[in-house]
Symmetry: C2
Subunit: 287 residues, 2 copies
């Protein structure tokens, strides 16, 4: 798999800024062209060593690029794919960084038509910080990156996109777009809904209590500090899978409460043991 001679990155935030840095640091792309929506961002990008050219429009960035990374929020990925479609070289690959994949993969592929290949991706990397200026070349290292083809996606295009993310340091997991959405509904969107709901619940109690908390509450609620508009879009796009996971989790939590109500402490201990066995088998965090 040869690396792209020209890589375009559209709408860089933390992830897009990290793609550019990691591509440069790992020699994963030749020329790097970036388009950002805001003129002042385009001005600042000119001075970055990992940016070879700044494009004034998404179409201009796409021209001559054999790989395009659309780093925009989930609700802007398909509109950008539609915009760049006529400008792409024949056979180009387009990928993204969106947290939901089913709809984006289908509409992205439809937007590109037969001319180019949409292969969605979702790097499981992030930070409380946002903005391209906080990106790092190391952000994807030892992190899972889902690459999510549709049944009709050309295998060679999937391989090209997977090789690119692998070259950035990510551990690529190739899985169908809908299977991806089921997985992240459980391991990412459900925890977000829980952390948010826990904070909303505690906000209705005495807010001073949070100052007494140990590391447990701090960790359990950390992701509740995430951006509301980004998460609103994620919940919107993955509504059905999240609803299913939430409903099943509610039943699980209710079983815990029932055991406690019944003073069934053997069952309570068995549940804690089972949860602990699951948690203890997490692989160590990336260094």
């Amino acid at each position: 798999m040869s690396s792209p001679a020209q890589l375009a990155i559209l709408a860089p935030g933390l992830l897009g800024g990290s793609v550019a840095r990691a591509a440069r640091a790992n020699g994963a792309a030749g020329r790097i062209v970036i388009w950002a929506r805001r003129p002042e961002t385009r001005l600042q990008l000119r001075d970055q060593p990992w940016c070879d050219a700044v494009a004034e429009t998404p179409e201009a960035a796409a021209q001559g690029s054999d790989l395009v990374v659309i780093a925009a929020p989930v609700d802007q990925i398909v509109p950008l794919a539609r915009r760049i479609a006529p400008a792409l070289p024949a056979g180009a690959c387009v990928t993204d960084v969106g947290s939901v994949k089913g709809e984006i993969a289908r509409h992205g592929a439809a937007a590109l038509g037969a001319r180019a290949h949409f292969v969605g991706a979702h790097p499981m990397a992030g930070s409380e910080k946002t903005g391209w200026e906080h990106g790092t070349a190391e952000l994807f290292r030892h992190r899972t990156c889902f690459v999510t083809p549709l049944p009709e996606t050309l295998p060679a295009a999937t391989a090209t996109v997977a090789a690119f993310w692998h070259a950035l340091g990510a551990e690529v997991v190739t899985v169908g777009a809908d299977a991806h959405d089921e997985i992240v509904a459980h391991i990412s969107h459900l925890p977000q809904a829980i952390a948010t709901s826990l904070c909303v619940f505690l906000a209705g109690k005495d807010p001073a209590w949070r100052n007494f908390a140990g590391g447990g509450l701090r960790d359990t609620t950390r992701i509740a500090g995430s951006d509301a508009q980004i998460w609103r879009s994620i919940f919107e796009q993955n509504r059905d899978e999240v609803l299913r996971a939430l409903g099943q989790f509610e039943e699980e939590l209710h079983r815990f409460r029932t055991a406690l109500a019944n003073r069934d402490y053997v069952e309570i201990a068995a549940r804690i043991e089972r949860g602990k066995a699951y948690r203890d088998a997490f692989r160590p965090p990336p260094a």
Copy 2:
């Protein structure tokens, strides 16, 4: 408030081992006498610079001690208080490190009678590591330590115990034993029940999914790795308050699910914003 001339620590684990080290480091006690249940632990304690004497029995440790810290798990605190009661000097204070306080405070005070004063405490400090050998002199620094008198507790005894925990570096919060149990049901026991239930739920899905998780799931579930028997006792002792908090949290989570089912994304975003505002106001973690 003068510091105790002789401090006894019974059944040291991570917390008791840290009390001894912190008391020595901060000059918060004169002589430090320790009793541990296991003979081999008693042998090892002899070699520690923060242990002046090892007692063969809890009663022997209590003799001549003006302050006793019972560092045992919640179900063993009252039995130990009963055992040492006859050996305590008149006017001695007894405190503990248990995560639940109402029952322990009442039974502890009853066990000591008029001879000595039971003033419960609960330092919000810990670690995944357990065992006295992992204790540190810094464990309580900038951490909340609840000191939980009953209405009938002698104010001077409460002041003595509060001053001791303050001398170890903790930020002392004095609050009634039952109010304490309501607070920790919300900020500690509820998050534990949630983290455990989330892990139990995910354990019933494809366990390989956990390897794809980013830092979000890792943080949200960290406390699910806690010891099952310790937590079984905590849920047993704080059953009523945890049931109430769990029931109300279930309603909160259900409201989130209902908004999602209704495609009410304005409500979803408002909930995320509200949770974020609560979470963003957490004070910074202790250095």
